[in-house]
Symmetry: C2
Subunit: 349 residues, 2 copies
């Protein structure tokens, strides 16, 4: 029997945050690709676009005008998925379970400039985004009917983002969403059994093994999780065990901004393109309970696989059966680790 | 307080097959769309394409020639995600769980004709595909190291399909994939508690309520599940409770082919386009155990939302938090139900 090689042999890995497995087929990256190609972004956007509904001072489709903001800017989503109205509870039965859901959706502009993205912003300006996230988490989370605040960003047309102006979203709501609920259950099971944070123990072992660490600073590590699904998926984990963004020290907030800047620069450098992804923060719910099991982290799920135009399709097998990846997490981590930390637009490496 | 209206008010619904919730924001279909548009298929393919690696008699990239097949055709995938080699078990630990996985991947051509898709084939020819699926399930499932046979189809470039020649795939393997395992656990929990099939009870209630039924014949119903995630997701459920495709009577096989033809015609008619989707069959694993909890069904997950070119993006919130939909399942079911069952290419309705 052959000795196992994780860059050669098909295998499955376990995701302890989600209690799910992923199929890894490292040998499969060799197959030729004849399928759909994504279009790439034309990279000559103006600093200010009079037709952009997110630029400072511009009118939105609802007739409201944006502030002439000079740093970050937040407003209630004009087309929210959730509403604040109280509605009567619908009839429900075991196989037809249904409940009303209330919430608040907001949009956050990261910068007044139309032509930048997070990796092209100064760390000090990303820090302002981090501070706004913290303030929004507190503001929304303090309301009675809000028990969870989901901060996320969809970047790039391929990730359903309809406007290139740098921005993210917050969907806050009464219930704990499915994936957060699963993560919480798994973190709690581990914490109750071991008396320690699952992610702290996991990070300690990754720091020893080193092969999946992409970068780090004093307070955060960025790594390709052992169980990553997306080809260049990464996780930002805090070195200290705390539950949410309001518990960061000033130094940790800056270090978090630094980690975001550095990983997104590496992403852009990978295929010399404005690298699309969905990112999101997982942290304690705002249900007023103590949650010692939670350990602050941020996921990046980028779709690209082989180039600026070829993405990984999560389709048939993945939707019916199980997530599947074509390159080992160790290989992806090495590729990201080896990339420069100067943005390709600012350097000829 | 307002009375609840499932076509107006945000709510969550429970999926008892997956033990997951979905967020429904029916009011949100009103928002304008300025994002990515998919390209549509040019519909003048030849019956035979000398450059297609799936057409009869043609050479594949491995140098092998296809049979000059006249009906269906099956072969081992040239770029399989799984291999049959036995490999030594890798080292594993609680937060780094890993196991080797063996399996066989096959490709199934549905027709020798390059220019058709399932809805454009005769029911008698779709029946041959059903019969081949049954034979493959038996053949692959009978092997010692195969405990699960996943039959699926990716249709359309937007679903990662790299060749328009009508074909599907089979990925068979040693382990029960994550989503199948979850479904099995939930079916089993219900069966153990109630002594009846979850899907039989569910279907009985849907047949009473009628609002989510799209079409039916003597042996199968096609409906938009109460908990559907994709805008026009459907489920084909057998009226009789049996576990897998080899247990169908000849009449049931024909009725299954009829259900596939009719729902895929409606799909094409919805936006007058070759409607993309991933479909897949969920049935008993081939682990040699008795599985009275299983109830044969087939999922269709189509990505389109508003038109032939605007799909639903499962991104930021959906990846981090929970699946979300912008149109109620009842509305989608009504739209599909009202469509003709004659393919738009063959009729001017
Ligand atoms: O095997 P294919 O058709 O080349 O590939 C397609 O289906 C597979 C199974 O769902 C996916 O893993 C691939 O991402 C997709 O492009
Ligand atoms: O709110 P947006 O940016 O218009 O919409 C985008 O993000 C949402 C949240 O992930 C998704 O539900 C939409 O499918 C996507 O297009």
């Amino acid at each position: 029997m052959q000795a196992f090689d994780n860059n050669e042999h098909p295998h499955r890995r376990y995701n302890p945050l989600m209690d799910e497995w992923v199929l890894v087929s490292p040998h499969r990256a060799k197959r030729p690709w004849q399928g759909q190609q994504e279009s790439t972004v034309t990279d000559n956007r103006p600093q200010y676009d009079p037709t952009c509904y997110l630029c400072p001072g511009n009118e939105r489709s609802t007739g409201v005008f944006n502030e002439k903001y000079t740093s970050t800017f937040v407003f209630d989503n004009d087309f929210p998925s959730l509403l604040t109205d109280e509605v009567q509870a619908p009839e429900t039965s075991p196989l037809f379970q249904i409940k009303t859901e209330r919430g608040i959706n907001r949009v956050i502009c990261f910068s007044p400039r139309h032509d930048v993205t997070l990796p092209e912003m100064e760390t000090a300006d990303i820090l302002k985004v981090v501070e706004l996230w913290a303030a929004q988490y507190s503001d929304l989370g303090s309301r009675d009917f809000i028990n969870h605040v989901q901060i996320f960003e969809n970047k790039g047309a391929v990730m359903g983002c309809s406007n290139p102006h740098p921005h993210g979203q917050i969907w806050s709501q009464g219930s704990l969403p499915t994936n957060v609920d699963k993560t919480q259950n798994n973190l709690k099971k581990y914490f109750d059994a071991q008396g320690r944070s699952l992610l702290a123990d996991y990070l300690a072992e990754e720091m020893q093994r080193k092969e999946r660490i992409v970068l780090e600073n004093k307070h955060f590590a960025v790594l390709v999780p052992f169980w990553a699904i997306w080809p260049f998926e990464t996780l930002i984990v805090s070195k200290r065990h705390f539950g949410n963004i309001t518990q960061m020290t000033a130094e940790e907030r800056y270090a978090f901004a630094d980690a975001i800047k550095r990983i997104t620069i590496k992403y852009d450098n990978l295929f010399k393109t404005s690298f699309p992804y969905s990112s999101g923060i997982h942290q304690t719910p705002t249900d007023g309970l103590s949650h010692p099991e939670w350990h602050f982290h941020m996921h990046f799920y980028p779709p690209l696989l082989r180039s600026a135009t070829v993405k990984k399709f999560m389709v048939g097998y993945e939707l019916m059966a199980e997530a599947q990846r074509d390159i080992s997490p160790e290989k992806s981590a090495a590729m990201l680790r080896d990339l420069p930390e100067v943005h390709y637009k600012n350097d000829n490496f």
